[in-house]
Symmetry: C2
Subunit: 196 residues, 2 copies
């Protein structure tokens, strides 16, 4: 259970599994903010990983809204289910399979998160454009230069406006025997835009 | 008016004034998330500047909660008032004066934001400890090495736990005549902790 209204559940509160990535707290709250959520909305989380973005989105859209969490990795699906149970957030449907097929089924979305889709990101962005309502938001998180480049190419050609690219680099403190050092994390790039 | 539940009002939505700083969107949402807000809470925003943190906090704590926005710069006070009017958020009291005195008046706080307090930060952190409820959160944003150092020194001595230091470096895209470049912003360090 997360008893606060603000997003930003600490990373250590989530159950973890080997080789299943988690969108870290600070990057996650920026992604959630870029989606501009409100109660009752429909959200997809493509490449849901540990389910952290799905859970934070589900809390924002409340019980009248619905999150569709999709992943092609069975470990991610299992982990997302465990985290849904842990945080007691019932308004998430977990869908196992290829996002390029599974994205076709749910009702139209108010917001679509895309993360960790590897080489298919361009196609998934194109499919997302079809599934987004007018005014809907797309939020893509990537660590790959190739994904950033291909997303930029495709976003310009599709019906999107207010394209924003934000690169986020986080460092966190760690106590050493003699003081406090900052430990750098890898930069993450968040691309967001509005469907017109 | 901000019609979404998620924090992260775009910077360009706020009224601005010369020499009055604004906590930028991405840093602001991380600060708001570190405060762990919920409806009905009491929040102080010390060094409120443009009022952007006060307004986002006020939206999270809803009409049953209250934000006390303090600044010693008259331009900041005027600008905060203008932004409160623009976003139609009535649950903020704007207080002009020295935070070291003005912090003594309001009821005990669930969360205290400290930003832009210059040389007085150490004293204001000590006063904040007195004004925070047990379990309350302190969130300090700084660009100064000296402030970071002195806050760390004082937090260790006071009744705080779960001390987190997060340095955030944001780059934003800009179109050039030949492509898209990333423009770096200065790193901001966010220190947060829980009063025990």
């Amino acid at each position: 259970m997360w008893k606060f209204k603000t997003p930003g559940i600490p990373d250590e509160e989530f159950k973890r599994a080997e080789k299943v990535p988690i969108t870290k707290e600070e990057v996650r709250v920026i992604q959630i903010s870029k989606a501009r959520l409100k109660p009752g909305q429909i959200v997809y989380d493509i490449g849901c990983g540990s389910g952290s973005v799905s859970i934070e989105a589900a809390l924002q859209i409340e019980s009248l809204g619905k999150v569709f969490a999709i992943d092609y990795d069975k470990n991610a699906i299992e982990l997302t289910k465990k985290n849904i149970e842990k945080f007691d957030v019932p308004n998430i449907s977990v869908i196992y399979g290829n996002a390029k097929e599974k994205i076709l089924d749910p009702e139209e979305a108010d917001a679509i998160f895309i993360g960790g889709t590897g080489r298919d990101t361009k196609e998934i962005v194109e499919l997302s454009e079809n599934k987004l309502k007018v005014g809907g938001r797309i939020v893509i998180g990537t660590i790959l230069i190739e994904t950033l480049y291909s997303v930029l190419q495709v976003l310009d050609k599709l019906q999107f406006e207010s394209i924003d690219i934000t690169q986020v680099t986080i460092s966190k403190s760690r106590k050493t025997s003699t003081g406090t050092m900052m430990l750098a994390r890898n930069p993450v790039t968040i691309i967001s835009a509005t469907k017109i």
